[in-house]
Symmetry: none
Subunit: 224 residues, 2 copies
DNA sequence: TATGTTAGACACAAAACTGTCACACTGAGC
DNA sequence: GCTCAGTGTGACAGTTTTGTGTCTAACATA
């Protein structure tokens, strides 16, 4: 649960700093954006685990950002607002926000909600992704195929994790490249293929987890 | 998302009735318990999808019920409390509650939270086109005929998606060609026919979805 | 510095897909 | 029935996409 990446979208730098400090103290890493446009850019280029989103923002308000992000992702979103009107809150939920916190709020409450939300969304309280014949222990950074550990290089591990965290979704080479290599990587997309090849070799009899989606990319497939 | 079973644990019958009415109006079914012991009994005997749990209860308070249920299940829990102390809220989250609502609350807010929580927990918010005997899962880029996956080539998939997204409409070869192959494609219109043929073969017993409209093109027909 | 490992690129091989065409078939109109 | 325009279909070759072996550079390690 540690080391999750949290994007803080807030135009007031003092508030941003405050939230960021509290979260870092809890072991999360944070990214910041001071307007809605930047928020969406950062989100598309990075593998964000949770978003804290202020409503009052320059360049797309929070509602808009929330809606746009919900079109492409189900990442958990916490809305922050100065107003505490019920209709606002209802509107936020309609747009797909997961939590709604009214300013002024206690940082402790915020941290608690972040924790709960991450826990609910990302784990059954463990950092282990377990499939039939394949186990990824993120805490230990170890992977087991048929209960035998296989040793992966960092990139191989990141790639496998990313795939396994998005099961049953056809992922394009571009998406994979952006999320695993980073938004600033402009290398050959076929590099993804090369790493897929290496992963498949190491997965051996369980390579069926990685399916090719012709014309698109790859898909992590759970059922045999 | 409808027809989910919600357990309301609350000792005041008026409040129980109020919540129950609101939820039923939204299409949920409700069960009620007026103390903690009964709540746990009911939960163990029934397939509950969400619990609304008051803190002040005879026979095990809400904290205890929450803890006991968390030992055996990860069902979503919303805590209700008259107090609004921060420490209480934090304690609730520690115990594994998913939401925390302070009385007095607006029933609308409650319903909104129930909805969001259910959606988050039970739906994968996927892009799925579903017909009787045919299912197109766009996220996974998979197609099922009578619950058996069929593997389509990229063009076949695009063509089927386009047809299925425009049901009951006679689509000319030109329209199909423009939308599926792109406006700058100037190949033989009969190519569409060839792909329709291939699709029909793969659809097997469900090929009736694709009807020929003589002199025009094809139509995706939903009813058998 | 020597050695071993990892990452990225690339070319070629292998596999899969696509468009075209010719011919068969169908059905509507006469 | 016959005609004919429109549609169905099988075959095939060219094209596209993916798989894979290998090379080089970067990097870490001792």
């Amino acid at each position: 649960m540690q080391n999750k990446k949290i994007l803080i979208v807030e135009d007031e730098s003092r508030m941003r700093r405050l939230i960021s400090d509290y979260l870092k103290k809890e072991g999360y890493s944070t990214l910041e954006a001071d307007n809605g446009k930047k928020a969406i850019d950062v989100f598309e280029d990075t593998n964000i685990d949770l978003i804290i989103l202020d409503i009052m923002l320059p360049e797309y308000d929070g509602w808009t950002v929330c809606r746009k992000i919900r079109e492409i992702s189900s990442v958990p979103i916490i809305l922050l607002t100065a107003r505490s009107e019920e209709s606002d809150e209802l509107f936020g939920f309609e747009l797909g926000a997961d939590e709604y916190i009214t300013k002024p709020f206690s940082p402790k409450i915020l941290v608690a909600r972040v924790k709960t939300l991450l826990k609910r969304v990302y784990s059954s309280s463990k950092n282990i992704l377990s499939f039939n014949g394949l186990l990824i222990d993120d805490s230990a950074h170890k992977v087991f195929v048929n209960d035998v550990e296989i040793v992966l290089t960092p990139k191989e591990y990141e790639l496998l994790s990313f795939l396994a965290e998005n099961p049953e979704i056809a992922l394009s080479r571009e998406t994979i490249s952006t999320k695993v290599w980073g938004y600033d990587y402009f290398g050959d997309l076929r590099t993804v293929d090369t790493h897929i090849k290496r992963l498949r070799i190491k997965l051996g009899t369980q390579s069926h987890f990685i399916q090719t989606v012709r014309g698109v990319g790859y898909r992590f497939e759970v059922q045999k």
